[in-house]
Structure formats: structure tokens, C-alpha cells
């Protein structure tokens, strides 16, 4: 790891950009899960529980998007970019876990 940020202040390995794209990919995966949740919840007519869980899953996806967006802004703001904070990592993971909990309720 000898090649630091270049003269123009740009990392030749494009690490912040790759990390930003990783966040984008993960947000997209979460969107797929949310869409599947909506399809399951509204399958065969909308019930009260279905609509509520549908809204919860969309809210969880928005929460994930918020974390991802915040992180992407932090990555592009400073050079060198600061490390991810455990609070954000835990929030992202809890969104995924809560989606799984919604899924368990919908499936059973």
C-alpha cells in the first residue's frame, strides 16, 4: 500500500467510488426484498395486516436508503474518507433483520 492519494487528491484504486457502488448495490438488493414483501403482502387481496406490513417494509427500505445516502455523502465529502461508524452499520443490519421479521409474519 505505497500508492497514496495521487497529486490530484484522487485515490488511484478508486476505493471510495467502489465503496459507494457497494452501498448502491446493497440498497438495490434491499429494494428487491421490499418489492417481494409488497407482492407477498398484497397477494390475494389486501388485508389489514398485509397493508401495515407492506408499509413497514417500505419504511425499512427508506431507512436503509437514508443510511446509504448519508454514507455516500460522507465518502465523497472528505479526503481521506472517515471509516463507517458502527451505529450506521448496525442500523443497516437492523433494517434487514426487521424485514426478515416482517417476512416471517407474512409467510406464516
Amino acid at each position: 500500500m505505497t500508492a497514496g492519494p495521487g497529486p490530484a487528491g484522487r485515490d488511484p484504486g478508486l476505493q471510495p467510488e467502489r465503496t459507494r457502488l457497494a452501498w448502491r448495490r446493497t440498497t438495490l438488493s434491499a429494494a428487491v426484498v421490499a418489492v417481494l414483501a409488497v407482492k407477498t403482502a398484497l397477494h390475494g387481496g389486501a388485508s389489514g395486516t398485509g397493508v401495515v406490513l407492506c408499509a413497514v417494509c417500505c419504511g425499512l427500505w427508506l431507512g436503509f436508503l437514508r443510511v446509504a445516502h448519508h454514507r455516500i455523502r460522507t465518502l465523497s465529502a472528505g479526503s481521506p474518507p472517515p471509516a463507517l461508524t458502527p451505529r450506521h452499520a448496525t442500523t443497516a443490519v437492523l433494517c434487514a433483520v426487521a424485514m426478515a421479521a416482517c417476512a416471517a409474519v407474512l409467510v406464516v
Binding site: 463507517l84 461508524t85 458502527p86 448496525t90 409467510v107 406464516v108
Partner: protein
């Protein structure tokens, strides 16, 4: 087990990770972050698989369908919790200049996915017969 509890406390406390050791090259931290995100995507894929089993195998008996779906969902939850735990442990090891933690989890997850895949093949074949 107390090690695990201490790790859980670290999940929520950014300042405590920062206190330990020196600040590493930011590229190591970013690489660790991308690995964490890759595990999180794996977890999301497992959760999506749970939904897919429920939605796209409607001819199965209720018990088989719900059992498979819950197994995939549980694997997803486990995988995401382990992702953040492993990320914290790696971050701390990088800061302290220690070796990265070794883990049996990838091998276990592969076995679980293989078992679920075989179970799914069997269940679909049996479902067709009946």
C-alpha cells in the same frame, strides 16, 4: 460468551472502536466496509429467497413451504447479524494491527445453503408426484 456481549456493545458505540489502536490506512477500512456490505447483500438475498419460496412454490404443502421459507429467513437474519459482528471484529483487529479473525461461518453457511437447495429439489419433486 462475554466476548460476544462486548462485541454487541461495540456495534452501537463508534467512539469505543476509535479509541483502540491507531487509525489505519483508510483503504483497509473501506475494504472491510465493502466486505460487510457483501455479507449484508448475501443476507438480503437469503431473505428474498424466503419470500420467493412462499410466492413461487404455491403448490407445496403448507408445512414444507413455511418450513423452507423460515429456514431461509433465519439464515438471512443470522448472516446479517454475523456481518456486523465480523465487521466490528475486523475493524478492531486492523486498528490494533492484529491478525484478522478466522471464521467458520462461510463454511457453515455453504453447508446450510446446500442442504436447503437439496431439500427444495426433493420437495419440488415430491410436490409434482403428489
Amino acid at each position: 460468551m462475554s466476548e460476544f456481549v462486548r462485541n454487541i456493545r461495540l456495534w452501537f458505540a463508534p467512539e469505543r472502536v476509535r479509541e483502540e489502536g491507531g487509525t489505519p490506512d483508510y483503504r483497509f477500512s473501506l475494504a472491510n466496509e465493502r466486505t460487510f456490505l457483501a455479507w449484508l447483500r448475501t443476507a438480503l438475498a437469503l431473505i428474498g429467497g424466503g419470500f420467493a419460496v412462499d410466492q413461487f412454490l404455491p403448490d407445496l404443502r403448507w408445512a414444507a413451504r413455511v418450513g423452507l421459507a423460515l429456514a431461509l429467513l433465519a439464515a438471512g437474519v443470522l448472516c446479517s447479524l454475523r456481518a456486523v459482528n465480523h465487521w466490528v471484529r475486523c475493524e478492531r483487529a486492523i486498528r490494533r494491527g492484529e491478525d484478522l479473525p478466522a471464521s467458520r461461518f462461510p463454511a457453515m453457511l455453504s453447508l446450510v445453503v446446500a442442504v436447503v437447495a437439496v431439500a427444495m429439489v426433493v420437495v419440488v419433486l415430491v410436490g409434482w408426484e403428489g
